[in-house]
């Protein structure tokens, strides 16, 4: 079957152009973009959510960037940066800049709305107990904001994985290479291999983030294990020791 031909050929699973290398490159670019984007977006989101200053910036940034065509942005920056950087940096830097630019708004919006919508009663109680503003932020608002921060991160991750594929057009490594090179060589099974692998990567990473979110979000928020049945279940369960 042409869809899996490339994937089933063992020759394609080693070397500098093999699937593991390309997957690894894709993961590295994605992680780098997400880390740098979070370093920008999380502090801004926390600040705006905590102080409620500059809320319009958040909404504006999200809307404008959604409308910008990512392919156009990458190509534009590559041409602008080409004379500035030598070697591979000429396409790596512009690609990374665009990936970061796309990842910032969802993370920023998620962080902001998470903090801004943290349970008022919990925040007030923390203040009443004498928490300093920093303690309120770190020990009440951020834990309460985690579900929304994670959902922003999920959106950003999907966007970055998808756009990193596109950046193969300007020579960036990663799974997009298979699609772009396969198209140039009229090799559909190679294109399909790239598409299948990148779709799987996106799916696995998405599930991974969901799992991390599930594991780290406080049980007090999700009400997991605290519903009325759990007490009954606990009482009915024979003691195991």
């Amino acid at each position: 079957m042409i869809l899996f031909e490339w994937l089933l050929d063992p020759a394609n699973w080693s070397g500098p152009y093999g699937a593991p290398t390309l997957i690894w490159q894709h993961v590295v670019y994605t992680l780098a973009a997400l880390l740098l984007a979070s370093a920008i977006a999380v502090p801004i989101g926390l600040y705006v959510g905590h102080t409620r200053r500059g809320e319009f910036v958040i909404a504006g940034a999200a809307n404008v960037l959604r409308a910008l065509p990512s392919l156009g942005l990458i190509v534009l920056l590559v041409i602008l940066f080409a004379p500035v950087f030598a070697s591979d940096l000429a396409f790596i830097v512009p690609s990374l800049v665009v990936l970061i630019l796309l990842a910032v708004p969802p993370i920023m919006t998620g962080t902001y709305s998470g903090v801004a919508n943290a349970n008022r009663a919990a925040v007030d109680a923390a203040r009443g107990m004498g928490f300093t503003p920093l303690q309120v932020l770190l020990r009440v608002e951020i834990p309460c904001a985690l579900p929304l921060i994670f959902s922003g991160l999920r959106g950003a991750t999907l966007q970055v994985i998808s756009t990193a594929t596109i950046a193969a057009y300007v020579s960036l490594g990663g799974l997009g290479r298979l699609i772009i090179d396969g198209r140039a060589q009229n090799d559909y099974s190679q294109m399909a291999a790239g598409a299948i692998l990148v779709a799987l990567l996106a799916l696995v990473v998405d599930l991974l983030i969901e799992f991390v979110a599930f594991a780290t979000v406080s049980r007090g928020l999700t009400r997991r294990g605290t519903n009325r049945f759990s007490t009954v279940r606990r009482l009915l369960k024979p003691n195991r020791s």
Binding site: N63, R66, L71, I179, M191, A202
Partner: protein
Amino acid sequence: MNFDWLWRESDMIFDLFVRHLWLSAVPVAIGLALALPLGWLVHRSGVWRGPLLNLVGLLFTIPSLALFVLLPWFLGTQILDPINVVVALTIYVLALLVRTVSDGLGSVPRETLQAANAMGYRPLSRLLTVELPLAIPVIAGGLRVALVSNISIVSVAALVGTRQLGSLFTQGLQLQFLTPIIAGIVLSVALAAALDALVLFLSRKLTPWERRPA
């Protein structure tokens, strides 16, 4: 900016613009038509609502370029066929709007539903004349996100060879020429802003009872 070039190529650019408009708007129309009944089904599905929405949401995780490549195999089309782009975007719109429609129907206040029942509305006419109109603001919100992100995603299809404004980007890179790239970005942002404003306008026209800040 090389305005001579823009002037000389204006026919070609206009053609790309119209193609771009069609490729991004048609999937939204099809997606909305499919999402209304599906969103209603999900809304009525009780405990299955969460799992169903998660399942639909998974469609959204597939990167667009991957979808453009894989769909020809599933549909038996040529890779250059614009149908692939339309189907791919319809899938994204569906993934977004099924949730929105279900949320919108869920946002109708219980008292309103009870009042409609008491007035003798039958389930179908209650859905069509009470619930759906009240859900319009929420659905329009999802529609705006879908439209605007479609316009950005369509340009990616230039990488598999489907012609639209994205072709200006590939052309610009090949020629190392900024004018088509800037023209492409400006036109697609303008298109996004115009369609966004259109949906907002229609949604306000359709919901005259919504209170607006003066």
